[in-house]
Symmetry: C2
Subunit: 135 residues, 2 copies
DNA sequence: GACAAATGACACAAGGAGAGTATCATATTA
DNA sequence: TAATATGATACTCTCCTTGTGTCATTTGTC
């Protein structure tokens, strides 16, 4: 059970690195050298981050990526959800057909509260806060 | 991201039902009728619960399953870990080769603390507590 | 003892998700 | 216009989830 999948993990590291470079564009080449990730996979990750408007991309010679948002506006939760969809620990594997008492289900209620905690924790961690402590 | 996989979910419901029947043996037939789970899959789930000494099985005519432990000794965490292995949210997808600063990694630290919370919450929910509130 | 009724032990299979690759199209700028 | 970036997209490979199916073994009843 992974809370953070590989692509999300790559994304976190890449975004932190890009954030550190400020307004300087960072190319895929640079990231590959620096972080030793598989090039094609990283490219896909960056493209997704671009589409979801967390990064801004520049094509052509001298192109690359910069942040599209300020580092304190990018949370771990946000990055995770870009790749894994909305964080849901509480989805019942049985839909209505099997489990008629969804509202009363104590298991679901407990998992709901766990989920709330996890979401709020992940929301509180921003790229800015990660950089501050020297990642 | 599922916290509780399907087999663990089946297990929780089956164990609760069996617990309600006290010392009476419960057969697969009965469980299938009652809970509408696929028969062969449920059989597998029950066999696993038997092997991990949460249930006790009785072969032959009139056989079935009873609890091997008292309901307050069976936690949600225990049931989940039988099927999904030790609950670990905090395993870094990068081992040492890529991520040299495992100890300093703030992401890992945060996830560690989230994991501790989740584990302790799930440990606190027992079959006894589920039954008390009328599952 | 024979038979029926239960569980035990496996081996197999379909489907999807995670992780990664490969190729061509498009934009930029020197 | 050629070189250098990213964009779009389709494909592969493997493992995990969610099952199914078959035969063996045990046990209670007639």
């Amino acid at each position: 059970m992974k809370l953070i999948t590989r692509d999300a993990d790559y994304a976190i590291r890449a975004v932190c690195f890009i954030a550190k470079q400020g307004t300087n564009k960072v190319s895929v080449e640079e990231l590959v050298r620096e972080m030793k990730m598989p090039r094609p996979f990283l490219r896909k990750v960056l493209q997704i981050l671009n589409k979801s408007k967390i990064l801004k991309s520049y094509k052509g010679q001298g192109g690359g990526f910069t942040l599209a948002l300020s580092p304190d506006k990018i949370s771990l939760l946000g990055l995770i959800e870009v790749f894994q969809g909305k964080l849901k620990l509480n989805e019942c594997t049985f839909k209505k057909q099997v489990c008629p008492n969804m509202r009363l289900c104590r298991v679901k209620k407990k998992v709901d509260s766990i989920q709330k905690f996890v979401v709020s924790e992940l929301q509180g961690i921003t790229v800015a806060s990660l950089l501050k402590e020297g990642m």
